[in-house]
């Protein structure tokens, strides 16, 4: 039996913990306010012929490491590299929630977007065209109501397919201003050259351009820990040999 690791990411109060409870049969406390879950929770479940280890990341508004929570969530996705990251979105506030989904798509292509609270959206008179969203994002999208356990099996089918590599998402990359794109084009090859393909180079380049220097120290610490050395063809005057 295949064992996969999946992470739940999403804004605070999107029902991640409810989904986590539904999947694992565990009982994290849930409540209708932002910040209810402060501790990372972990559980396990089986679906079809695969078993899954699932991690409920802290709910965050972004993954730019403005806070300890955001750093935890970011580090998990970047360093632990779960087989699938489920981005849980609140159907009643998709616009704000997609902000986070787009950030995750820059970090990994193995994403399933899960739109939760469909029942609430229905009540509020919000219609969501799932196919359109899936087409635009380039990743599979499932609609669920975690509280009433609706839509869970189709979601897990998608998760399993992405985990097994049967489904390979082609995520949308946000296009930034010409200036930023030019800078990215300059920096990304160097990132790829030094860090290899282990990390998403466009994302790392973007973070570096944004001045997120502690990301590099995290990467450095991580590489030391794993005994991996960055690209070592360093010539004596200190420039990397790859171009």
């Amino acid at each position: 039996m295949n064992t996969y690791t999946i992470a739940l990411a999403g804004n605070p109060n999107t029902g991640k913990s409810t989904l986590f409870n539904t999947l694992t049969g565990l009982r994290q406390h849930t409540g209708n306010w932002a910040g209810k879950t402060v501790v990372k929770a972990e559980g396990e479940f089986v679906h079809n012929s695969s078993s899954f280890r699932i991690i409920d990341l802290p709910g965050t508004y972004s993954l730019y490491s403005n806070s300890a929570d955001e750093e935890t969530a970011r580090d998990y996705i970047i360093f632990e590299q779960p087989d699938v990251t489920i981005v849980v979105l609140d159907a009643t506030s998709l616009e704000r929630n997609l902000n986070l989904a787009l950030q995750v798509l820059e970090m990994t292509h193995r994403v399933v977007v899960c739109i939760n609270l469909m029942d609430e959206a229905e009540k509020l008179g919000i219609d969501i065209d799932l196919a359109a969203i899936s087409r635009k994002l380039g990743v599979p999208v499932a609609a669920i109501s975690a509280r009433s356990r609706q839509g869970i099996p189709p979601l897990l089918d998608l998760v399993e397919k992405v985990a097994a590599g049967i489904l390979v998402p082609q995520p949308l990359m946000v296009r930034y201003s010409d200036e930023t794109e030019r800078q990215l084009a300059e920096l990304e090859p160097q990132v790829r050259c030094i860090l290899g393909t282990r990390f998403p180079s466009r994302w790392v380049a973007l973070r570096l351009l944004d001045g997120d220097e502690n990301l590099l120290s995290s990467i450095k610490a991580r590489m030391n820990e794993e005994g991996i050395r960055p690209e070592q063809e360093v010539v004596s005057y200190g420039r990397t040999a790859c171009h």
Binding site: Y61, S62, Y64, N66, S67, T92, S93, L94, E95, R96, N99
Partner: protein, 88 residues
């Protein structure tokens, strides 16, 4: 600071209940600026003023499909142009 001959319109804190403001400037720096950006307070986005707290402050704003409360300290540093009722 570069001086620009642009009107920044009104601060969120001065906007009437129910009015809609298209944001054009956020005069806050550091972590709070980044937090506000994450919540959707980005130039170009439209904010609707919803409701004051019973004690007069904070005020709830509708932005990107969510409701966020801000204190006067912050909302007085976020500027935008008044939008017409039907503008989207």
């Amino acid at each position: 600071m570069v001086f620009r001959m642009v009107s920044y319109g009104i601060a969120l804190s001065d906007a009437k209940m129910g009015s809609r403001i298209r944001l054009n400037r956020i005069d806050i720096q550091g972590v709070m600026r980044r937090r506000l950006l994450d919540l959707g307070f980005v130039p170009g986005n439209v904010v609707e003023v919803i409701q004051k707290s019973p004690l007069g402050d904070p005020t709830a704003y509708r932005i990107s499909g969510t409701t966020i409360a801000l204190r006067k300290e912050e909302s007085s540093l976020i500027y935008g142009e008044l939008e017409g009722e039907d503008a989207e």
